[in-house]
Symmetry: C2
Subunit: 200 residues, 2 copies
Amino acid sequence: MASPVTFWFEFASTYSYLSAMRIDAEAEARGIDVTWRPFLLGPIFKAQGWDTSPFSIYPAKGANMWRDLERRAETYGLPFDRKAEALFPQHSVLAARTAIVGLQADWGRRFCQQVYLAQFARGLNISDPSILADCVAVAGGDPDQALDLAQQQPQKDALRANVDTARAQGIFGAPSFLVDGELFWGDDRLEDALAWAQRV
Amino acid sequence: MASPVTFWFEFASTYSYLSAMRIDAEAEARGIDVTWRPFLLGPIFKAQGWDTSPFSIYPAKGANMWRDLERRAETYGLPFDRKAEALFPQHSVLAARTAIVGLQADWGRRFCQQVYLAQFARGLNISDPSILADCVAVAGGDPDQALDLAQQQPQKDALRANVDTARAQGIFGAPSFLVDGELFWGDDRLEDALAWAQRV
């Protein structure tokens, strides 16, 4: 019996895009249950003294990340457009709160994937409620109801609690995977995390 | 005909250890030529405002790195001892200059591997000339001659030139792999770099 995996993701995170598109198929093939938990890196980065993404603070690191992302997306057969770079890092609070609504219903994961595709394959602004509404609709939810719920206190509290929980578990970047107390960081550790879940 | 790969490594770098132990066998199996080039991350980190390793500056990131390194070393069948953490990051200038001597002879790569094993499998201090002398001897070089040469101006200049070249090529971390102008960063991109070399 494989252990469950918690998938911690941030909508503004480039490598979270790759994992969000890959994780369910990879986990299902191994018989592993996955729980999706959106969080925000902003407060965690701020505590480290950064006021934006390290990819923006350190230009050589950022340049390599975009090229690496492009190569990796091609390897995985995922669409990617470099114009996404112009808006990076995007404000992801409303998307994350909307994901919390969707993940309590049955359209959450498809919504998350639509948000990532809007951002990284089409270069759209995912802080725009109309873009998010389109993503909810494609995912099979009710856009008006979802965005209304997303802006209510329970969803704000739930997202804040996710950030606190992430930090308490030693999470410092995204995507991260937690399996039986083991933390794996980065899309390139997805397979390691799934192997750990099957370790017994 | 596969393209050649340049392997940029820093002796103090934990993930460079994994690549230094893996790259030649992986490259040989694919018919790829590899050039080893030691450099120093200190001057590059300093230019980014860091006075030590980011793994030391950011504790959550550091904690994850050590655990990840332990897991990855086990996967690769490489020895690793957590006591290496106590001396991290080590002063690597003399080791790097000695490597430059060895890489001009025929014992350089074995020397590099011995230095990494001394540091990460045995927890030894690789800034200690007697430790480096042992590594030279095991690798098949003349320890006295090698350490004497390592402290002469041509080797100092060569290492400085390596740092300048690394920075000019956009290198910001170690290990890094350069193939036909494509930069790959991290031991977890070694296979990507080798695949790129065979891309044609």
